[in-house]
Symmetry: C2
Subunit: 457 residues, 2 copies
Amino acid sequence: MKNENIPYKIYLEESEMPKSWYNMRADMKKKPAPLLNPVTKQPMKPEELSAVFCEELVAQELDDTTPYIEIPEEIRNFYKMYRPSPLVRAYCLEEKLGTPAKIYYKFEGNNTSGSHKLNSAIAQAYYAKKQGLKGVTTETGAGQWGTALSMACSYFGLDCKVFMVKCSYEQKPFRREVMRTYGASVTPSPSETTNVGKKILAEHPGTTGSLGCAISEAVEVAVGSEGYRYVLGSVLNQVLLHQSVIGLETKAALDKYNIKPDIIIGCAGGGSNLGGLISPFMGEKLRGEADYRIIAVEPASCPSFTRGVYAYDFCDTGMVCPLAKMYTLGSDFIPSANHAGGLRYHGMSSTLSELYDQKLIEAVSVKQTDVFEAAEYFARVEGILPAPESSHAIRVAIDEALRCKETGEEKTIVFGLTGTGYFDMVAYEKFHNGEMSDTIPTDEDLAAARAKLPKID
Amino acid sequence: MKNENIPYKIYLEESEMPKSWYNMRADMKKKPAPLLNPVTKQPMKPEELSAVFCEELVAQELDDTTPYIEIPEEIRNFYKMYRPSPLVRAYCLEEKLGTPAKIYYKFEGNNTSGSHKLNSAIAQAYYAKKQGLKGVTTETGAGQWGTALSMACSYFGLDCKVFMVKCSYEQKPFRREVMRTYGASVTPSPSETTNVGKKILAEHPGTTGSLGCAISEAVEVAVGSEGYRYVLGSVLNQVLLHQSVIGLETKAALDKYNIKPDIIIGCAGGGSNLGGLISPFMGEKLRGEADYRIIAVEPASCPSFTRGVYAYDFCDTGMVCPLAKMYTLGSDFIPSANHAGGLRYHGMSSTLSELYDQKLIEAVSVKQTDVFEAAEYFARVEGILPAPESSHAIRVAIDEALRCKETGEEKTIVFGLTGTGYFDMVAYEKFHNGEMSDTIPTDEDLAAARAKLPKID
């Protein structure tokens, strides 16, 4: 075991926790493209967005100039219940790999929701409460976001209506039960409770659902119910803003020990974890103060960065949301049901998409069998059972560490361990039983989904 | 929210973590009664115990004079991966209850095994490895111990054979899958793979098993296999010794802020968590340096302290283990299948039994519907989904805090939050659906089990 003066886990003091979120967009010279009204194709005005989202969140969504936004005290108090999260030095993993690389991971799974999603859930619930709303609606895929939002709503006494992608609803009854513990109502999507759900069911009978469908249903209910708004757990600028707490804590912990990372790695579905983790580092990069290799890791079965196009697209299947310019596979794209590894969204955060387009971020895609192999290896060596989503980052961190072993370079690698795999044991079981395979979309699959992209002049 | 200078979570520095375990027995004037050979009824000799247990663990089991036993560096390194665990100030719970009491809990659930069991698992695996063994056998009920031992064995490259109580094996497939992730083999008990299993199945066809049966099977396999020993996750003196790390960390964290608890509360099944949590406080009490109210909380459906007798009894159903003097319901006692709240063992740690007999510990029993009510309340207010076992302590901590509200006393309450409830959602679901009831053994049930206690002169 390397003998260094760095503890296994770096915890910030409560007094060292961030008091403001950091807004990367403020330091971007070329800003992310604005959301467009799907009918007029003009940038969405605050008053239009306010029909769907809470007012203060709309302001955050559109603000691309203010670098620091204060975290309200109520949210900071909630953060204190489960944060700071540890920045872990992976001594055991380094030793097992025999690498000269120094590996750190920011572990966001030590809370009941099991993931980083709680960082934004509590912020969104707070602003909904502050606006005097009765409740919020949302969608959830694997269930991490729905669980996080249920916890946040319970804390502030808000009603919480969750549309859960049907295949997850059926495969993860325990996730549903955790949400019920927090008083949320959970509806499998697509459902007969909304017009858009009925339409999707009529067009695709027997469908097991998708995030895009569930978003459409949740938005419809929010817009049609007095005192409700819709909240979203990823993709949006506001979510990346709230998730910046991950990166700010990571940077503060590294700074305490004068550690400068060479490579920062995060998994990317909609981009909330990656965007949060990298934000202060990207800030330095954008301001020309430092340079870092930043790697987004996505599943080969849903490769929006590596095989998508950078274009305006619908955020949801029902096409009720604004249009966003992003790397996308097309809102009609649904990854193979065989894909167990999470990160199933067809698009990617506009902010990250613009950074990727400016070549400030790299992206790689990995196969799920390789991901689960890395997950099990990591669980045994580091004693944490990782979520499949997080394991995408583990896979690439291990690959980079092995590259260092070849070259002898002592690089410092930081990756985001976004959550635990307690509710993903069905997928692990498949892996153990040798029943897991890789399903990679063909060029024809992608072209078909791409053909349905909206035309924007 | 009370405004005090104490953070929500007190974390020790790595350098402040305990370097020795504390052995309460060294400070007891009247020692716990020795284990007896079930045939000769004489105290077990080290060489007899060594057929079942690892040598160094036998030495720890029998040592009732050495107060501090050094924690080997390899174990301390493993502890650093998931310890120190936080001592949490329950500000939100206090506010919600409106109590002047100050409530703290030591949270042991932030590791993949989900409970405190890992503290002893890693120690036992270490000594097995050091002795050059191939592997170990054990039993598990709810699965926390089996998971912890699987993790520990995987870390040291030991084979791990787990006998899992059949009803848990069937109700908790995900627990089984976590153990498989760590390379353990898991057999539902009673099984046809052992003589004692076959005998039990013949006598009680269709039985869903018990901890006592699973222990008998695990011991039989350990004794009959070259290079294997049996390890146990609770009850034994050695386990309480390893678990003292909980109490030592708790005391160090409290001392940092000059906090002196009035009441210390822990759930009690076999006694490993309670014994560990209270150890340094009990040490002070035994040495006359301080006084504390110490409360053991047990389920009304398995009330060994409150309705058992203090007598020599078998530790297992198959009667292959040594006899231990303890508060017991009789080794034939099996709690109602209706009981979902864990803590199902028929007996109680000899050390704790002796302390209880000396009136140094109080005990209360609680009904499982009250326990789950407290669990859900706590989950919503403190943001942690507790294990049913841990929720026994939560129930009594809340009751004591409400008593303080009546009297206006500002008592300081510390309780042990031993684990998370992620794998107990079937029980939570029952509770949510109003399908949970209380099954309390009748006096006749208890008398029948007691009638089978062995006769010791």
